[in-house]
């Protein structure tokens, strides 16, 4: 896991796909490929009402990325300072070994260049002190750009707030 994490608040996500469109717009991704995807799962009845979950699937930027190990040319790289995994397109030969290796379907095939490309957490934006396009553009601020430990605190805070909602404050 890189030192970054995109936290998705299921309660806030409405499955509108703005993340996908902001990502594609920012990265000029042609039709057919997507660096991130919202996968709706449901509806499933819970307490009498059909509920749905929207699973956000960017690249997870693994600590030990299968795609990097699989790449024969060194095109797929993990940036040492922060763990962002990205493709050096000048080295990619289009062998698709990374596509085979990744369990999450993250590396994408660019039919226009015959190379692989993928989510790099918008590293040019990160380097400028900004956030990835999917996070910045998210309609309901369901996506948050945090560190893995911040994500844990966010979840704990939400849970604490939920179980005490309506309780008198001291």
């Amino acid at each position: 896991m890189s030192e970054y994490y995109i936290y998705q608040d299921q309660k806030r996500c409405i499955g509108c796909r703005a993340c996908e469109v902001h990502c594609k717009t920012k990265n000029d991704v042609p039709v057919g490929a997507s660096f991130c995807k919202i996968i709706p799962v449901g509806p499933k009845v819970q307490d009498g009402i059909p509920r749905i979950k929207f699973i956000f699937m960017p690249c997870f930027h693994c600590e030990t990325p299968w795609c990097v190990s699989a790449c024969p040319t060194g095109a797929m790289q993990r940036r040492t300072e922060d763990g962002i995994v990205s493709v050096d397109k000048s080295l990619c030969i289009g062998c698709k070994a990374c596509i085979t290796a990744c369990p999450w379907g993250s590396p994408q095939w660019n039919k226009e260049t015959g190379r692989v490309f993928k989510c790099d957490y918008c590293k040019d934006r990160i380097d400028e002190g900004l956030e990835p396009a999917c996070v910045t553009g998210c309609t309901t601020a369901a996506l948050k750009w945090v560190s893995p430990s911040e994500s844990s605190s966010l979840k704990r805070e939400k849970f604490a707030k939920k179980i005490t909602q309506g309780a008198p404050t001291s």
Binding site: K11, G15, C16, A18, V21, H22, T136, G166
Partner: protein, 697 residues
Amino acid sequence: MSETSKKVVYSVCSMCTVRCPIEIEVENGAVKHIWGNPHVLGGRFLCPRGAAGKVFENDSERLQGPMIRSGERGSGEWRKATWDEALDYVAERLKKVIETYGPESVILGDRGGAFTDLQKAFIKALGSPNYFNHHGSCSNSVHNAHNGLTGQRRNTVSYDWKNCKYAVLYGRNILESIGTKEAKDFIDALENGMKFTYFDIRWNYTAAKADRFHIIKPGSDYAVNLGIIHTLISEKLYDAEFVNRWVVGFDELAKFISPYTPEWAEKESGVPAREIVAIAHEMAEVKPAVILYAGWMTAWTEDDYYFRRSIYMIYALLGGYEAKGGLLFNKNEVDAGYKPLKKFVDLVPKVDKKRFDGVGWKYKHLSADYGLAQMVPHAVLNEDPYPVKAFINYRFDPLSAFPDPEKFKEGLRKLDLLVTIDVNYSHTGWVSDVILPEATYLERTDSVIVKSGPKPSLWMRRKAVEPKFDAKPKWWILKQLADRLGIGQYFPYNSVEDIIAFQLQDMGLKLEDFNSKGTVSLAKDQIMWDRKDGLKFKTPSKKIEFVSSMLEENGIPSFPPYESSKEPPDGFFRLTTGKTAVHTQGTTLNNPYLNEIQPENSLWINTAEADKMGIKSGDTVEISADGVAQTIKAYVTDFIHPTAVYTLHGYGREIPLQSRAFKKGMRDNTLMKGLLTVAVGGNCPITDCFVKIRKLS
């Protein structure tokens, strides 16, 4: 390589008619990204349609220059023309029509909204009273219902989501048919503990987040509301002080409501009586911090008007006007202490002629701000009340938006002139004589608009990039036509800077004031009116008129007995339609990124009904009505009322030059035969469309 040139332009989106404030990043003269305007929204969030503005701008499958038809209307045979040629063509024919039949034989339709001043000025300057917009297939019933009760249209009030504790939504799929700020506000409200009840004829993403959710019998929302009102009144849960001060006709309502018990409403709608009572109790407990969503696309049924009235009557009973967490009056520049923003339409002398659509004489309770677009074919075909011979169609597409496009087209074919001004190909543009391409919202500056609200401000749409093709801004097109028609004096400008200077001249503001944030705030804080004496209802009584003088004077009862919505005949289903977050009806279907996400529509059918016909999800079915048949893929689900089927509106585009959307999915409005009618609210009863379904092998 030369240095990269970068700039940021604040503007107003036009990918749909919500018109969100945007921040456009421009690099080397091209759009780099479009975000929400953080100075207005508090962040750069923007819905997927807004984000797809960049690929729209770069797409070549949109209008590229003036076109004059070279074949029959609708044949798709066009020749390219120069601007002078196309403008002369339009002006000459308009002149001839006006000379022969009078100026009222020219009509102008658009999509309504904030940027209408110039087109209203144009048609008025020609001497015609006939401005209308798309609301006959959209929000006419809710606008006119609020107008009858309070003397002002729906959008003179807004919802205070920030402080709302309880909301009720009726078929308003607020989390799929989204406006950026509203969706965000709604989710924020949920996070702040707001509870909400949702009624619809089917499940959707909004239902998925509801605290209470009921699939109700189509068209029975009004019955549910009557049950709620019955509970509020019989249990004395209403705000008596507010009602005494601001309501006319409470006793008549109390008398009217007596038979409509929650038990009665249960029989009508399928919602258990105890639930209706519980909802009324939940509202009353937190009143007035209650929002009942009055609707946006409300052209549903014949009696939609009375349903929308019932929503606003519940607000009145809860004391929900100018109330924290309920409805807040929208204030304008004058309320904020400024002189009015000047309008071009006010430079033109009043036109004292009868309208083509009956508004103001046949339909005195309906507003001329919207008119009745559905009357166009009738007026043209029957020359009733007089000949209508030319239609200036500004970014409006009745052949996509209104029922029965064949009938509509029959009317359009009989015109002497149909001219379409648009940025996209449209079904109506395709049967026009001339298409004048407008510069896109990213390529043009429009007039300044007042964004009225509890905290009013001024907004403007500003050019970010040069037009990619041979397209021109609206102000230029209308000025060119005006000069050719001898009405140039009403358009006293030569540049968009002149327009802005004219508009702002009395306000002590200038164009540069918009540079840093894209907006000019007119009030430091929310302006709140005094709930005891300061509420500005514009009815004759200056109160909320449950017994509406506007209706009664025109022989229309304020409280007609409830009538059940029509049941589909045996073997038929009611066709209902809706929207998704990634499309604006038909206009974005060809957008490369949005088309990719949702290229086709499908038909929702209830599982039990589908089983009877042997239909499974993914099967191709035929859907037909009155001799029109279409095919579509079925989606079989438990979560739709068995008497209804549902699909996304706007698909099945028939313009070959839109290659991605061409013939993808089913064009719903073709099935809505015979529905170009005027219900009491001024709406077409769009969901009174009954269809047959058949599995294709």
